[in-house]
Symmetry: C2
Subunit: 580 residues, 2 copies
């Protein structure tokens, strides 16, 4: 706001000048009193000018029978999970009613470091969706793998004064906070100095451990799993988020803990929503709708998703339909059954109608964030696997989550000690190919439960370092799949008998694409069908998402990184061979 | 917070180091969930370290049977109204449970300009009470009088970046905002630029007029008088304060408008509390107690006076009893009957017990803010009053408020046209003596309803410009009273037949004193008795407070400034003489 803009708005509010727009007869959701009232809502210069009165406006819209509510704020998300670039993400989520997101570009920064941060800021600068960023606090996520960058205090200092950077992203390194690790404390201090937020990530942390975490100044948590955990974290002064992602869904688990008394401390977020979930269910409106359908007062629900998030992140210009606030709003025929926007307005301009965006957001060239594929000397030799024993450790896939079992089994080896695939056993080779620094690192191990009979699947989405992960029964298809991703700059691909069965190109950092949501989901749908029909992947798991989490060494129990097999419970590397 | 301090706090929270203090068995008020829970509360380095667990502490206090709640925040007050300097004010209000105030030094700045601002900052720097300031937005309050300073954009810019200056003080110039007055917009922009708050002052403003006011970015209002007005202002996105001052009392008026749904948008404040009210009733705890006694959920009430105020003003380190927040708290045996603190702690140190402060706050010399008495050529001649007609306008005192009547009457004049006091008529002479710039200005008029038979009363508290105001039946006592105030540097004094009946010295800007609350109230009590017995002042009015508001040209209907008689309804100067 500046005085010229304020003066123009005051003039419009006082009826001395023409407003740009009036929405007549709307049932306005009042998130401050938590009720609604019928009014004509006037807009000038993208801001709400006032209600009713004798003003004039250039354009009129009749909203009789419709609720008018503030644009929804997703309090924590990773845009990368949508596979979409910021402009395509904007086009995808605005029709769902999301007008502001607080995004943690943790994934792209793990690949491209500060170039990723710069790209996410640039690419979200001039698009209808308001994108605020939290600077990723944990890049790399662990020291047990090679990520594309190391972001510490000096890197944070370069970006944290940007007004669109609201603080430090989810501090997943709980042990580092609890032990006052010097590097972690240096990062936290970047936020302390500026009074900026620090997002938390504290699954199941409680008691003195939670005291210590909160004493570090952590502002929020989005990892609660029970109503008791929610109540405890709210009590300890944290804002708690009800998360409804694609894999992690907590809204219904946590809802019994939400009361009229504590609702002002609770927000909604999506964290990670896959493109298919956005198309089929919606975005942050989906979690809100679920909560309303299961008994949460709709006005309370809307407040949580608008006013509360604005307060938590210090966004003083939004979250309320009232004079002097941004004219970001939704018109919807339903409220008591959930929020399905008929029309979405940003800065007083209609930007979506009946689930469709009206104009494409401005595209930004993905400079310096093309899928970086610095893979050294890759060939079948790198996939050679001689475990040194027939009795081996095997990563056991557990359907429905990202936790794996630390399994055992017996395998066959050839005369050179090389592992031999057996058709009647559901054991496949898994490899993680380092792609950031040309180290030539390839970690190889065994995995059970994927179901695939013959072929290979590879992806450059492999949390959190996003090396190339590939699964297969034969080295030839595995090599072809990896080579395909090196060639495309990343994505997801499938090979069988040397033939490419399908590729979803993610040319931005190997994580995102500038294709629109519809094309992305079309492509993924076809690839899912192929994975099912041609590769016979276990129908109880998502063939691609499952792979994405097999290299994440912070989730139990057995995982594979580019540095080797990792026993998460023991928090140390281990061997495939079980030596008696 | 910095990393060293955070690390020490984390160490304490994790039980690795000794805490300074533990309050055992407290019933902790949880302002976030709005309930309470039993816990041992650990403190380290002035911050809350955690609850329960196996930690050790140097000092233990058993709080069995007591509620532990966050220190109270007075969201809007004028310290000057207490007659106390910041250090004495700190000693006076802390025993009431107030640990933070948002103060608008509007009065002292009207007298001493930026020196007043500097003094208020300096004098409140190292005292137990946390004092945050709002830079006064309306100095002078009107162009119809001479104040000690003119504070515009350039002056605001000098102070507004101070971290203890939270924004712009109450914007009383509603017409200036509504008309986008250039000077007013320049002031507002100082806050816009920094994202700082702008306090409001919008009695009875509603509809498009309120839209315009809120469109200017005004954050709060403390002038609501009806539940409907509260609901309306909350709806329009403002935080609303329940005010319980000495003269203006709105808590019970507004309480019916407070709901569980809107309570997060509502705060408590005192605005103006006289020293007697603090002694007899308390401070912000009095308004909170009233609300609780009249049915407000005590947890909601406490949240409003702590968490909500902290959120509204961006004070992220306080307002909640939880790890990482300041250990400013109250122990009280009662909650459901209101808040009367047994003990008060600030930064984990006990600072008050049973209504008494335990150690005097550090005194700061009132440099450059001594009672400025630049009065030119003052003598009885200046009080000469020749109205030019026997038929005159008279300021009619209306007991119980600060509004006056625009009265008429018939007087006697001597051969020179000089007004003659008549013993059987309750009409007295009123004069306002300019004291800031040596203009020699003296405004003279007539006033009815004060009751005094013989003598003079003068004070240098005369809102908002704080010139010397004097009332009397004879010039000789009036001159003596004014001279006494010039000599003492300000205060309140009474004379009769040339004899000084009592003087309350306010040596700081003529508004405040470095004497403690007890001495101030003792002195005022004796002076009230004298005013009653010796001067026979109307028992239905406060002899001193009434005088303080007779020079305030924004409150209807007839007032007197150093520039002359002012018809507030017509918003222009007028004459005492009614010429037929």
């Amino acid at each position: 706001m500046n005085k010229e803009k304020a003066s123009r708005l005051i003039d419009a509010a006082m009826g001395r000048s023409l407003c740009d727009l009036v929405i007549r007869n709307a049932e306005v959701v009042d998130v401050c009193n938590k009720n609604s009232f019928k009014a004509d809502v006037y807009v000038k210069d993208g801001m709400i000018a006032g209600f009713d009165g004798d003003r004039k406006a250039k354009e009129e819209i009749d909203a009789k029978g419709k609720f008018l509510l503030p644009g929804l704020i997703d309090a924590h998300c990773h845009i990368e999970s949508s596979h979409l670039s910021p402009s395509e993400f904007s086009d995808a989520v605005i029709p769902c009613g999301t007008t502001t997101v607080i995004a943690d570009p943790h994934e792209i920064c793990n690949v491209t470091g500060l170039d990723g941060m710069k790209y996410m800021l640039d690419a979200s600068e001039d698009i209808p969706l308001s994108v605020f960023l939290m600077f990723p606090s944990c890049v790399p996520a662990t020291p047990f793998e090679h990520a594309g960058a190391i972001l510490n205090k000096d890197e944070i200092e370069k970006f944290i004064d940007n007004p669109r950077v609201l603080g430090l992203g989810e501090m997943m390194n709980y042990p580092g906070v609890a032990s006052c690790d010097e590097t972690v404390m240096d990062k936290l201090e970047c936020a302390y100095k500026r009074g900026k937020n620090i997002d938390g990530h504290a699954p199941s942390i409680k008691g003195p451990a939670l005291d210590g975490y909160r004493a570090a100044g952590i502002t929020t948590d989005h990892e609660c799993e029970t109503p008791e955990e929610l109540t405890d974290k709210v009590r300890k002064g944290m804002y708690v988020m009800l998360r409804e992602g694609t894999a992690c869904k907590n809204v219904l688990q946590l809802l019994p803990g939400v009361t009229e008394g504590n609702s002002s401390r609770i927000l909604f977020c999506t964290d990670d929503r896959q493109p298919q979930s956005i198309v089929e269910e919606g975005h942050v409106n989906y979690g809100i709708s679920l909560a309303i359908q299961h008994g949460l007062n709709p006005y309370t629900a809307v407040s949580m998703a608008t006013l509360n998030a604005a307060i938590c992140y210090g966004l003083k210009d939004r979250g309320i339909i009232a004079p002097g606030y941004r004219a970001d709003f939704i018109l919807t025929s339903t409220l008591n059954e959930g929020i399905k926007p008929d029309e979405v307005f940003i800065l007083g301009k209609k930007v979506a109608e009946k689930g469709k965006i009206l104009a494409k957001a401005k595209h930004t060239e993905p400079l310096n964030v093309s899928g970086k594929m610095d893979v050294k000397d890759f060939s079948a030799t790198k996939l050679s696997f001689r475990p040194g024993s027939d009795h081996v450790r095997i990563i056991d896939i557990i359907p429905g989550g990202v936790v794996t079992g630390n399994g055992e089994g017996w395998i066959k080896r050839d005369e050179n000690g090389e592992w031999i695939h057996e058709d009647d056993k559901d054991i496949l080779k898994l490899a993680v190919v380092e792609r950031h620094h040309g180290t030539g690192n390839v970690g190889v191990g065994l995995i059970r439960g994927y179901g695939m009979k013959h072929g290979a699947v590879a992806t450059s989405i492999a949390h959190d370092s996003h090396n190339i992960i590939v699964i297969g029964d034969n080295d030839s298809d595995m090599v072809a799949a990896v080579r395909k991703l090196i060639e495309t700059g990343g994505g997801i691909t499938m090979f069988k008998d040397g033939k490419e069965l399908g590729t979803h190109v993610l040319e931005i950092a190997g994580l995102m694409t500038d294709q629109p949501l519809e094309e992305v989901t079309d492509c993924l749908r076809k690839m899912h069908q192929t994975a099912d029909k041609e590769l016979k992947v276990n129908s109880k798991i998502d063939p691609f998402m499952t792979l994405c989490f097999m290299a994440l060494p912070v989730i139990p129990s057995l995982k594979l990184t580019d540095c080797g097999l990792f026993d998460v419970d023991a928090f140390s590397f281990t061997e495939t061979a079980i030596k008696e």
